[in-house]
Symmetry: C2
Subunit: 184 residues, 2 copies
DNA sequence: CAACATAGTGATTGGTCAATAACTTTCTCG
DNA sequence: CGAGAAAGTTATTGACCAATCACTATGTTG
C-alpha cells in the first residue's frame, strides 16, 4: 500500500476516533489500531497528532460541502433548501462524521485558548465554506440560511445526545428517523 | 472557607476550564489552580474528575433553565419567545458557560462509546429539562421550539468559532454583537 | 546483483496526569 | 487547655501517551 493510500485510511479512521473521543481524548494508538498499522508509523505519514486532526477536518468538511453542492445544483432556493435538507439527513446516517464536526467546533475554542490561532483560523475557514455553499444556494437570504444551519446544528446535538427517533424534536425537524426523511 | 463553599467555587472554575479544554483536555491541576487550592484537595471535595464534570453540568444547566423560566414567566408564547431569546443573548456574554454546554454534548458521545451509560443519561436529562422549559413556554409547539433551539445551537457554534459580530449569520440571528440585542 | 527507495515495526523515553497517602494547620467547644 | 473535627498541604505513584530512534522487509531499477 502506498503512503498516500495509507494517509487516506488514517484520515478515515481519525474521523471516527476523534468523533468519539475529541481531540485530547483520542490516542494516536487508537487511530493506528483502527487503520491496522503501528502507532509510530503515523508519524511517518503526518508530522504530529494535530496534523492528523486538521487533515481529517479538511476531508470531512469537503465531503459535506460537496454533498450540499450536488444536492442544490441548478435548483431554485426553495427546491435547493429541500434537496440540501435531504442531503443532510443522508449524512446523519454516519454519526461519526457529524460528531467529528462538533469536535471541530469545540477544538477551536481550545486552540484559541492556548494560542494556536492557525488551527482556529483553519477550522473557521471550513465552516465559512459550508456557510457560503448553503447561503448561495438559498438565494443569499441570511434568514433562510440561519434557519437551515440552525436546524442542522440542532440535529447535530440531537444526534450527539442520542435521542430516540420519536422525540418531539426529531419530529419537529421533520426527521423522524436518522437515515430517513427530510427536515425543513 | 467551608467545604460546601469550596465545592461551589470548584464548580465555577470547572465550567471555565472544561469549556476551554473539553473533558479529556482539562487537567484537575488547572481547575485547582483557578480555584486557588492544591490539586489533591479536589479529591476531598469530589470523588473523581468525572464527578466534577457532572456537578458542573448540573449547575450550568440549572442556571440556563432558570434564565428561561424567569424570562418567560407568565407570558404568552409569542412574548415568551422574544423574552427567552433576549435571555439567551444575555448568556452569550459568558462564552465559557455556553461552550461548556457544547462540551457536555460532545462528552455524551464519548461516554456512550466507552460504556458510561449513566453519564450519558444524566446529560440527556439535562437537555430534556431545557427542552421542556422552552417547549412549555412556546405553547408546546414543536416547530417553534425546534426553531428556537436551532437558533440557540447555531449561536453556540458561532460563539465557539469566534466569528466577528458583523458576520452575516450573527446579523441573521438578530444578534449583532455578543452581549447585546436579541434574536428571533 | 547491488544499490536504493519505500513501507513498515519494536523498543524506548520524557513528560503528564488522576488519584492516594501521610502529614499540618486552624478553629471550636466542653 | 486539650481533643477532635474540618480544611488544607506536600510528596508520590502507577498508568498512559506523543513522539523519536534504530532497525527490518520488500520491491524496483540500472
Amino acid at each position: 500500500m502506498t503512503a498516500q493510500e495509507r494517509r487516506t485510511a488514517v484520515i478515515r479512521a481519525a474521523v471516527t476516533e476523534f468523533a468519539r473521543g475529541g481531540y485530547a481524548g483520542t490516542t494516536t494508538a487508537a487511530i493506528a489500531r483502527r487503520v491496522g498499522v503501528s502507532q509510530p508509523y503515523l508519524f511517518r505519514l503526518f508530522p504530529d497528532k494535530r496534523a492528523i486532526f486538521l487533515a481529517a477536518a479538511d476531508h470531512c468538511t469537503a465531503e459535506i460541502r460537496r454533498a450540499f453542492e450536488r444536492a442544490g445544483e441548478g435548483l431554485e432556493p426553495r427546491a435547493a433548501h429541500d434537496a440540501m435538507a435531504e442531503a443532510y439527513t443522508g449524512l446523519t446516517a454516519d454519526r461519526d462524521k457529524l460528531m467529528f464536526q462538533m469536535q471541530m467546533y469545540a477544538a477551536v475554542y481550545t486552540a484559541e485558548s492556548d494560542g494556536d490561532e492557525e488551527f482556529a483560523a483553519r477550522i473557521r475557514a471550513h465552516w465559512n465554506e459550508l456557510f457560503e455553499a448553503v447561503h448561495l444556494r438559498l438565494g443569499a437570504d441570511g434568514r433562510e440560511t440561519a434557519d437551515f444551519l440552525g436546524t442542522g446544528m440542532l440535529i447535530n446535538v440531537l444526534l450527539a445526545l442520542g435521542f430516540p427517533a420519536d422525540h418531539p424534536l426529531w419530529v419537529a425537524c421533520g426527521h423522524d428517523h436518522p437515515g430517513k426523511r427530510r427536515y425543513g
